[in-house]
Assembly symmetry: C2
Homo-oligomer: 292 residues x 2
């Protein structure tokens, strides 16, 4: 089986490293960065590496994994889908799924299977230089198959991502994915940025504990990528941000009141909600993987 990564950045590079030893597979890649190609070849992570999509033998690949930013991935589909091998599998790792599905649906004909994917792992610094084989350890890997996707393709992706160290695969659809990711990922980035815009940031050296590091880590993001992700999802994300503002406003009002019992009641209710979420999560998780 011939598998090609389009892009060996943080995600593509980490996937290629994590797939070392995957049985009966040969890995190839396209990356425009010369140092990345040199390293990936030299370390035996891929068998061959091309500088441009035009020169790469897409036509011979059984699996193509798009590891590009969303707009570039959608452009790849528009411009290169006709070159994919008949019956092959195309997947991607983008953090929003509607633009990819739309690009596939806009094709005049389809002779391949498209299965959208999104590994729930990342790092503040991008690029092959920051890629590591353990990036996905314990992470969810979301797939967004449409009704035409053969179950075998889902099973194949499950084997692949479990080999990479992922905890499980999670099945969703593009709309539900983009809404939930708006909450669990994009909103966390908006919040981290807003927290770091506060006036005390540079006065807080020595006062950071685990909660501060955990909440602000992702603020050191790649602006181009995240503007792209936010923009696709802007209405959902604005609504989620406004909901957060509303909840924070309720806390602010309680703090400004003289009703300590009301604050205690709210803290009890909110923390109970989180404890119940954690409890149910451990039940949810024990149900997976999807295909035994």
């Amino acid at each position: 089986m011939r598998i090609m990564f389009i892009g060996l950045g943080l995600i593509g590079g980490s996937m290629a490293m994590a797939l070392s030893g995957y049985p009966d597979a040969a890995f190839y890649a396209v990356d425009r960065d010369e140092w990345t190609r040199f390293e990936a070849l030299g370390r035996g992570i891929v068998r061959s590496c091309w500088a441009s999509i035009e020169d790469a033998p897409l036509e011979t690949m059984d699996v193509v994994i798009l590891c590009l930013h969303p707009a570039a991935a959608a452009a790849f589909i528009k411009e290169n889908a006709h070159r994919l091998k008949p019956g092959s599998l195309l997947t991607d790792v983008c953090g929003v799924k509607r633009p990819l599905h739309e690009a596939v649906e806009a094709l005049e004909s389809r002779h391949f299977t498209y299965l959208g994917g999104h590994p729930m792992a990342g790092r503040e610094r991008g690029g092959f230089a920051n890629a590591t084989a353990d990036l996905f350890r314990g992470s969810h890997y979301i797939l967004t198959p449409d009704d035409s996707v053969p179950v075998g393709a889902v099973r194949f992706m499950e084997r692949l991502v479990l080999h990479m160290g992922c905890a499980d695969i999670v099945l969703s659809n593009p709309e539900a994915h983009d809404e939930r990711i708006g909450y669990t990922s994009q909103l966390m980035h908006v919040m981290a940025l807003a927290l770091c815009d506060q006036h005390l940031l540079f006065d807080s050296y020595g006062f950071e504990g685990g909660s501060f590091r955990g909440a602000t880590r992702v603020a050191a993001l790649e602006p181009d990528l995240w503007t792209e992700l936010f923009w696709v999802n802007k209405e959902t994300l604005a609504n989620l941000t406004d909901e957060l503002i509303e909840k924070l406003g309720e806390y602010s009002a309680l703090l400004r009141s003289d009703d300590r019992e009301a604050l205690l009641a709210r803290l009890t209710a909110s923390s109970d909600r989180k404890k119940e979420f954690d409890r149910q999560r451990s039940i949810e998780t024990s149900k997976l993987p999807l295909f035994k």
Copy 2:
């Protein structure tokens, strides 16, 4: 040297475990929980353990470490300070420092040194059952000495906390401490609670990545303790919450605008601010510990 912990909960218990092997010291404790006393004695973590402060030989201790919630710690000072050994050191681990300093200042006379402390480490679940020797590894330990504290007491605390695995000590004063902790710790807890109050929480199983886990972890808090911490600092915390609301509102407005360039500019500025903070932090950290 005889060192007594008042309270062997998560922090007191972890400190006692982390201080195993500290030279020329014998450790004692007071804890009202029978199982905790049984365990702490049986595992050799302390030499003796009493059920009540009244029965414990406070008068013979060179160092007393208050590991109680703030109101209980302030009450200890009011009721028991007269029993402390002349010239001994009293310290505490409370997450707010003004109430402790106020309790000490309210005493008619002082025959001991009080040095406020605050380890920047914790865990969602409290109690001795969750205490571990590695809780403080890599954490800051804040001290809030007033002008009367001998340097030797600060040096002693530094040796103690470095033995516990802390990265460094950080010197502050009660007012600056409470403001900064309002930002780096209490606000992170308000935000985690508010995030978990949002309507999508229970729809997000399988979509959680590192950013979500990092930002919401501390929502599973102890309501009594955190209501106490918030209440002491309510005005500061309400102002910080309102500042966060204001910054989030700016992001919401950008997301609702049609100006993608403005959103990119804001993401660039905010993430640059965080990257600069991280860069300066690595310089700050290399300056410590305070006393070589």
